[in-house]
């Protein structure tokens, strides 16, 4: 057992090292894609400045140098943790990452909560009643969750709960006065709900929670659809394995066969897929945040893209690449903990 632990640590260390080429590739791809369009100044100011002015601006910013030199410079910046300053509103990208990143993270956590609460029980139910009405109904729902774009679900939710029924707010992370009050509190964590709890004001907390319900549901249902499919298929597969038959053959009660043997084994591939879900969640959060004007990374990124502020875009995308690479490493760690066979 000791040797296997050593092997496990070696494996994880190697996975940790692999983060570097992953990030490197993504950063490079993004950098060169962006440069195909042109340098940030030409892209942003193209029609508005005279060619001479443009040239002067490019020279002062160093964009007239060879692309490879700029690329090298950018890489060294990233290594130092400097993602640059946005072109349009002169914010430091690292500040944007902290402020808006907290918002996105908050949304993603709420959404995952919805996804787990809805997806896992329904997936198990569908597998349990395989090929019967419950299964077909749940599968149909999963397909609908999958087929409906998150912004359409968001639109329907807003239409029903906000516009028609008036129960919930339709956009933002909190009402304006609550937002202001929380900002005035000082030393904000940028996590709205944490700030609200710290304020100790029940109304603030309720307000923040109310604002989170619709976006979390929209994003959560989408993810739940994937969970349902995955859990159902994996449960069905493990229910057919020899070790499940063997457990039955030694008289283990059916309920325990399912919960102790099938469920646990079925969760392993789900954990693996979770790594990719993070990328999906980040992608979908751009749409969700735009729909609900939730000022997270996706929202601000889309704003910068529309403003053709490619310095900001590049910085944010680089940061997202790092997040993705790190989280897929974390998933490997979890996987290694859940599955004793991962010991390489």
């Amino acid at each position: 057992m000791r040797t296997s632990r050593g092997a496990l640590l070696r494996y994880l260390a190697l996975r940790l090292v692999l983060i570097i080429p992953t990030v490197f590739i993504l950063v490079s791809v993004v950098f060169f894609f962006m440069r195909v369009i042109g340098d940030p100044i030409t892209a942003a100011q193209g029609g508005r400045l005279s060619p001479e002015q443009l040239e002067a601006r490019r020279e002062s910013a160093g964009y007239n140098r060879p692309v490879l030199v700029q690329y090298g410079e950018y890489l060294s910046q990233v290594v130092r943790g400097d993602f640059g300053t946005s072109f349009s509103d002169h914010r430091r990208i690292s500040d944007v990452l902290i402020t808006n990143g907290a918002a996105t993270l908050e949304l993603v956590i709420w959404a995952l909560l919805v996804a787990f609460l809805v997806g896992i029980p329904l997936g198990r139910l569908a597998a349990r009643f395989h090929d019967r009405i419950a299964d077909v109904t749940i599968r149909s729902f999963a397909i609908l969750f999958y087929a409906a774009p998150v912004f359409f679900v968001g639109l329907l939710l807003k239409l029903l709960f906000s516009s028609k029924l008036g129960w919930l707010p339709s956009s933002g992370r909190a009402s304006t006065d609550v937002q202001l009050a929380l900002d005035r509190q000082g030393s904000t964590t940028h996590f709205m709900i944490v700030d609200a709890i710290r304020s100790g004001n029940g109304e603030y907390i309720a307000d923040v929670l109310k604002h989170a319900v619709l976006p979390a549901t929209a994003l959560g249902l989408l993810t739940a659809g994937i969970f349902i499919r995955l859990i159902r298929i994996n449960m069905l597969e493990t229910m057919r394995t020899d070790f499940v038959t063997a457990a039955r053959a030694r008289g283990v009660p059916e309920r325990k066969v399912v919960s102790r043997h099938a469920y646990r084994n079925a969760l392993i591939p789900v954990v693996t897929v979770m790594g990719m879900e993070i990328a999906l969640l980040l992608g979908s959060s751009i749409l969700t945040e735009t729909t609900f004007e939730w000022k997270g990374i996706g929202y601000i990124l889309s704003q910068y893209l529309l403003a053709r502020d490619f310095v900001a875009v590049q910085g944010l995308v680089t940061a997202i690449a790092i997040v993705v690479a790190v989280s897929s490493f974390l998933v490997d760690v979890i996987n290694a903990l859940v599955d004793p066979r991962v010991r390489y």
Binding site: I143, A148, I233
Partner: protein
């Protein structure tokens, strides 16, 4: 006879077993009950949208960008009425017409994106998986990195890069297709490459190598035919993802110019502000169109997944041909004269032993 042209079809290569000539029908016949209902609904939905896309000019009451008819301007945000069955948008365009022409855009993008993804991703996967070594490692590293990256974000970046202010209808559709292709090539690559890796270890590939076949023949004569089994399911996934990505791009404002072609995602974006005023028809109808077409493709994909996988599991296990052979042998032992081979020759073919009922293999994550 005596045609010495080596390209002429040799008699030993007769067409494969009956029932494969019309794959669709054979597929439907192999389903039953709810599975068949799912498949038929899916096919029906897809067929519906394809017909709408083809006949858009005929069916649609107005052009997709018309804001005025013979009686002057339509007016904006009009509720559904006899003149505008689904109402008009905030820009004063007919919602129904935009949905109908939107189907054309969606179908075009799906076809283009799926074709491009397959043409690039599949050969790359077969090649990388077969050659292995450093080439493979580099490909895997790059595609894994791209795969892990949020696909919508990648699509946005590529679309901004490709379109570069192009506003023609085809330019927009092409840009959207390319960005979906960039997202999907890594997915095809992964699946096909892994299938190739395992196919490479299959004895029939070794057998071809022992026979002295060249790598190209092995890759594209033997392996490709066998790994392409996973393509239908992957292609449906690709198609539905293409529609969703297209709509997502449109929604965020990186898609096709609204004056160049109708696009559902763009309309939904414009409808977002209507919602606060209780105007529902501008958003709900294009949204339903997206849901229906994606659900249609997804239903077909799910059924394919259910049906194709167990069918393909022909390996191992006893066939009834085995049993027939045994029976013939025993008879030959009992009554000495051996007629066994003719008896065997008429043994009915079969693929499966009495195994538990069919079911689905690992589906695909989005």
């Amino acid at each position: 006879m005596a045609v010495l042209d080596p390209t002429s079809v040799p008699a030993v290569r007769t067409p494969p077993r009956a029932g494969r000539k019309i794959p669709g029908l054979a597929l439907i016949r192999s389903t039953h009950g709810l599975q068949r209902a799912m498949l038929l609904i899916g096919i029906g939905l897809i067929a519906f949208f394809v017909v709408v896309a083809l006949l858009a000019d005929v069916i649609a009451p107005y052009s997709f960008n018309a804001i005025r008819g013979p009686d002057g301007l339509f007016g904006t945000q009009l509720p559904p009425s006899s003149a505008h069955l689904l109402g008009t948008t905030v820009g004063g365009m007919d919602v129904l017409s935009r949905i109908i022409f939107g189907a054309r855009t969606a179908v075009l993008v799906v076809l283009l994106a799926t074709a491009m993804s397959i043409v690039v991703g599949v050969p790359l996967g077969v090649f990388s998986g077969y050659v292995g070594g450093w080439v493979d490692r580099v490909f895997v590293l790059v595609t894994d990195a791209l795969y892990a990256f949020p696909s919508l974000l990648m699509a946005i970046i590529v679309s901004v890069m490709v379109s570069r202010g192009q506003s023609s209808a085809f330019g927009g559709i092409f840009a959207a297709s390319v960005s979906i292709t960039v997202v999907f090539v890594p997915k095809y690559f992964r699946v096909i490459r892994n299938a190739t890796m395992s196919a490479k270890a299959e004895p029939y590939v070794d057998a071809a190598r022992v026979a002295g076949a060249r790598p190209a023949r092995i890759m594209f004569g033997h392996i490709l035919a066998n790994v392409s089994q996973s393509l239908p399911v992957l292609a449906t996934l690709n198609a539905s993802e293409a529609i969703l990505t297209l709509a997502g791009l449109g929604f965020l404002g990186f898609g096709i110019e609204p004056t160049a072609a109708a696009e559902w995602g763009y309309d939904l974006n414009k409808a977002l502000s209507d919602v606060t005023n209780g105007i529902w028809w501008t958003g709900v109808f294009p949204g339903i169109a997206i849901v229906l077409i994606v659900a249609g493709v997804a239903l077909v994909g799910e059924s394919l997944n259910d049906v194709l996988n167990p069918l393909l599991r022909t390996r191992g296990g006893a066939t009834t041909a085995d049993e027939a052979e045994l029976e013939a042998m025993v008879r030959s032992v009992a009554t000495q004269p051996t007629m066994t081979d003719t008896a065997r020759a008429h043994a009915p073919p079969s693929e499966q032993s009495p195994a538990p009922p069919s079911s689905d293999k690992e589906g695909d994550e989005r």
